[in-house]
Symmetry: C2
Subunit: 346 residues, 2 copies
């Protein structure tokens, strides 16, 4: 590498960096089926069994604000978002290890609150917390979670498996976590201006919960088995629908059409977006942290999902030369662009 | 938990916290052979194959100082110390995932320096970097590394396996990494006082290298196989010999006698300790980050190690009621106490 050059991270962004690293770090072992660049790495452990591994690093002030994030919820969320990465491979999480860096301002009781949340999530998802590292931090709280899971070779859903004419599906509803965050940020500002004010969160419970304590959609993964359904491609919605759809299209070398009127949104998300004078469509496309699943299935499987209460069909996979576009309600065809969460631009 | 109580972390320390968490988080799956409390967690993956997993979180200002730590060495070290945890189980590391949190002050080239060091270590230890997470940090650099490895059930060496009358062995030499750190800190102070001064590190190369770029003793693990040797108990020396020996004794419910004149020290470590007016024995017992292996073997295996250039026999395992003691050169019997690295007291 040319050490005299200085490239700013903001020039290439997180995804640009990942692309560079992927090229720089080719796997040596033929047991490594999928390295950098999917929701989890995939390793062959047995003739037919694949192991998944994924890691997340959550930093105070970037990923969470302790002014409005209860430690118990934070613990729950840090586990759930990792389990979601394994779900996105159509796999089953089995265990996690956790690293915590924290300063003296945390009491033992506070740390146990954090671990209580983790334990609740481990119990909810039937996984074990098997080890970790606890250390000090000179500044904020840092939490790293690494999750291990497994699945059968023929069941794994990569980002790269989408086929032309596939139906594009998404679980649950979109944009709620982002609007929950806006509400929490507003209440924080109100509180900072006047500590006597009580936060007005009562009628925002659903979206605030979506932000503070999201769930991994392991329920949907289980129902795939019941339905006899295997997605061709899958990813979880952590950075926003637009960004994730572009990942699938890029990795699968396809295009896509999606339809605004098919995108699922909760009325509370919609109303709150309007209250904040934000465009609900933008929120659905670019609001992150929903941890819903975005996946594609063959058209022949339509009957299996059409009556599923938690699955919406939102469009079709097209050939790559047709691009990635959305039909808006006004019947305009608009290219989907990734806004995502480019932390480095902030 | 009683939320009205506030217990300071400094009251119970890192090990006290781990003990509390171990009790609080019992494993649900019978595949979890060893959870929190050894160098790595142990999971059964097959009839005879155990998988190991271990994680470390390294924080700027606590674990490393970028004033004198080249990013390439930091990358190498962050991998090596994790591989060392798998070696300490008598296992073989196979792959890692890495989380990096960093601020805008790092250029893409700087991050690639860090990954270049990780790649060098991955190549040296024949492992693959298969995935990760890259995010921003509001303050310092944070690095999380999680390593996965495996071993055969009958070969695993736990902390808890030491038997009365076992020989206590240690690889390489002790205290070098700690004295290397003292030299680097001194040169940093000199530089801060007068930036024109050139650092005097030339005649301290070995101990500085032990601090900045330690190696995991996978060479010793390999030689165990050649020698037909299986340690009864093993741990790697990350917090200092005293602390690690106490871990083995506590987990195995035994005592130990070790001998000062048997403890291996490099002349440069000894001379530098004297130069800093530090007691070489204290450095050997409590200097951390050597990443040597401390292990116990049956006396019948003495012939296998007596001529090994990298293994020193330093004492015997005793029954628990005899305590953990060291015979000093003056023939005094002194209890071994753990100083270790209680980050939270700093």
């Amino acid at each position: 590498m040319d050490s005299s050059k200085r490239t700013e991270l903001s020039e290439i962004g997180e995804f640009g960096l990942i692309d560079r690293l992927k090229e720089f770090l080719p796997a040596k072992s033929d047991k490594v089926i999928k390295s950098i660049g999917d929701d989890a790495a995939v390793i062959r452990t047995d003739e037919n069994v694949f192991q998944f591994i994924s890691t997340d690093l959550l930093m105070e002030g970037v990923h969470f604000d302790l002014a409005y994030t209860p430690l118990k919820h934070l613990g729950y969320k840090s586990v759930a978002v990792n389990v979601s990465d394994i779900a996105a491979m159509n796999g089953t999480a089995s265990h996690i290890v956790v690293g915590i860096a924290l300063s003296n301002r945390f009491s033992v009781e506070a740390i146990e609150e954090l671990y209580t949340g983790m334990k609740l999530a481990c119990d909810a998802y039937s996984i074990d917390l098997v080890g970790g590292d606890t250390t000090s931090s000179r500044s904020g709280l840092g939490i790293s979670v690494t999750v291990v899971g497994e699945g059968r070779e023929e069941e794994v859903a990569y980002r790269s498996g989408a086929q032309v004419n596939d139906l594009i599906c998404v679980t649950g509803d979109l944009g709620a976590a982002f609007m929950g965050l806006q509400v929490l940020e507003r209440e924080k500002q109100v509180y900072l201006a006047n500590p006597e004010m009580q936060p007005e969160l009562l009628d925002k419970e659903y979206i605030v919960q979506r932000q503070l304590r999201p769930e991994a959609r392991v329920d949907v993964i289980k129902s795939f088995k019941t339905l006899g359904l295997k997605p061709n491609a899958m990813i979880d919605v952590s950075d926003g629908l637009a960004s994730e759809l572009l990942h699938i299209c890029k990795e699968s070398n396809v295009g896509a059409y999606i339809y605004e009127d098919k995108l699922p949104i909760d009325p509370m998300t919609f109303d709150t977006a309007r209250e904040f004078e934000l465009d609900p469509l933008t929120i659905m496309l670019n609001g992150g942290e929903d941890y819903e699943l975005l996946f594609t299935i063959p058209q022949a499987d339509y009957e299996k999902v059409r009556n599923h209460p938690d699955i919406s069909v939102i469009g079709y996979i097209k050939s790559a030369d047709e691009g990635v576009n959305i039909y808006t309600k006004g019947d305009h065809l608009v290219p989907v662009t990734a806004q995502g969460w480019n932390h480095f631009k902030a």
